[in-house]
Symmetry: C2
Subunit: 362 residues, 2 copies
């Protein structure tokens, strides 16, 4: 029964996708006599947490009830909203069932401890793996202090992204492309290299049937030369204020207001720390990389990619452009993937896996 209600928490939590960053996705279910009497989720950054929302929506007296939440109720006060653990105590909840403890060092088990001290029964670790996966972006940032960088690409089964002449639209089918849009929605920004902008002029927006996101992810364009097409969609469309250009301290950029240009001290070597810090000022705490090969190779080469998703179409190309262009120093030094998941996506395969981001070169 715990798992059943926890899965409902996940469902509720997911409804906050694209709106709560950098906060985690949280859903809460209140159960009394085996029946759900209240539900809530964290709906948007700056808004109420899931717990007060669930209490607000409760249809019966919650005293003596069990509260399910995928994340430990917070107890710290250095934030936009009041802490939740005292509220849970005040509402006379008898039992709190938690999926993941909060990795935030300001909370880290002390929310649960506060509840226990008030005589509330606390159960933890229900569907922990699923909860980790739901909030992968949040957990990654809390643990590493860096944004989760998710590299997405599409290729034929033999790892080719385009014909030798560069022709590539579309390698994969509509289901894979739609899934890619669902991916974008989870991240604060979609990043491409200038060459992708010049070649494909992508919109890089989230376009899903019957769904308009409350806020679009930023579009982040990396350019060394500053040669960007003035007429590109990302500089012209309704979301052009959500477009950033990343370049060095001197390159002239005139297609965007200066406040949308992120200037780094240098591009070579690429200062990842400085870059992450500067985009964090825009509220960007996670990155979805969409190409091309040069951008991917830059991030791969420096072990900055935390998750990789490949859509592989059931085709063989033979000669063509390769997925990645970084160099490995030997077979023992290949980038390793972990927790591989494979899923059919229309006629294509979706393969997603974690990458070790802290690995050192031998």
């Amino acid at each position: 029964m715990h798992e059943l209600f926890m899965r409902r928490c996940f469902e509720l939590a997911r409804q906050g996708t694209g709106r709560v960053s950098p906060n985690p996705l949280v859903g809460v279910v209140i159960v009394k006599n085996g029946k759900i009497i209240g539900e809530g989720f964290h709906e948007r950054h700056g808004g109420a947490h899931a717990e007060p929302n669930a209490f607000k929506n409760a249809t019966e007296d919650v005293s003596g009830a069990t509260l399910y939440t995928n994340l430990e109720p917070c107890c710290h006060t250095k934030k936009l909203t009041p802490p939740c653990a005292p509220l849970v105590i005040e509402k006379k909840i008898a039992h709190v069932v938690i999926c993941n403890l909060d990795p935030n060092p300001l909370v880290a088990g002390s929310g649960a401890a506060q509840l226990k001290a008030a005589g509330i029964q606390v159960t933890t670790g229900v569907l922990e793996q699923e909860g980790e996966s739901l909030n992968e972006i949040f957990f990654h940032r809390m643990r590493t202090g860096r944004p989760l960088v998710h590299l997405k690409s599409a290729a034929t089964l033999d790892g080719k992204t385009a014909l030798p002449n560069g022709e590539s639209k579309w390698i994969t089918g509509p289901e894979a492309r739609e899934d890619g849009h669902r991916g974008r929605l989870q991240y604060d920004a979609v990043m491409v290299g200038a060459e992708t902008l010049r070649k494909d002029d992508p919109a890089l927006t989230v376009r899903l049937p019957g769904f308009t996101p409350e806020r679009m992810p930023f579009r982040v364009i990396l350019t060394g030369s500053g040669k960007l097409p003035m007429g590109a969609q990302v500089f012209k469309d309704d979301f052009r204020h959500r477009t950033l250009v990343v370049t060095d301290s001197q390159t002239k950029i005139d297609m965007l207001p200066p406040q949308q240009v992120v200037r780094l001290s240098t591009l070579n070597p690429f200062p990842f720390g400085e870059f992450y810090k500067k985009i964090a000022d825009f509220g960007i705490h996670s990155l979805w990389l969409e190409g091309g090969a040069a951008l991917h190779s830059l991030f791969l080469q420096h072990n900055q990619v935390g998750r990789l998703t490949l859509y592989l179409s059931p085709k063989i190309m033979g000669e063509g452009r390769a997925l990645f262009a970084h160099t490995s120093s030997g077979l023992a030094d290949l980038l390793q993937l972990e927790g591989l998941e494979v899923q059919a996506m229309g006629a294509d395969l979706k393969i997603t896996a974690k990458m070790e981001t802290n690995r050192r070169k031998p």
Copy 2:
């Protein structure tokens, strides 16, 4: 219940793997009062068919029983063994349950018709897809008149088989390699290009824990230059009489007796029809291709590959040698895979799919 007993037929049939070619794999189960009273399978080419074996092994009187077989009982007489349909009639079987009708034009439903004419109830089409898959090699040859060519390769997830310097052992893990040996066993011959022999000196034998095949698949080496290492395993080991070298009419080959050299009128363009005909004289009616890139590209380029199996390791290489080197004339012309199946094989992924072998270039 039909499916249960048919699956048992498949299990029995599979025991003939590597020994019955070019015949199909066939298993038979005789059931009376819901109980199996006899089992048999086609054990080796030239030996008895599955039906007489099952009758021989029956522990009770089979009259009135139901006979399950994954392939329609034969009725033609132009072969090594007596036809089975008359035997089934003689044994007073009441009901015959068949998975696949025989695609052999000499039989093609007439075995079933013969049974029906004798008053036997006949049920067909039980687990038809599984049966097709079990005897894919046989069905392919019957329908196309050509051997099934199965291309097997291993690569990183980004489609690389070796570092730029050629270093490649081992990309995939032991489970994938063992599975590759199971693959070899199903084919009459394992084929490689001369470059693979020079570079890797593979044994190309079937080596499976606790299992010694009754007969090794042939090893077929394609060479244009005749430059082959005299000391290569395939010319020295216990199975050297099962090694063939394929070359043109003139190239000097002195590491094998002349009867083990298959001479084609030319190698360029490669005469696939002549090649298939000449290897058929050795009893080779199916081919397992194991590289390298040049051999694979030759067969891919000419749409000769009927099934492709890739073992993909959960690694990213970046720069390296690509899986295939043929050229596609456009995105609409990529080689298409069908019926993709994905399976975990240790830490690696096994992806196998059919390819259209009759597709014409646009």
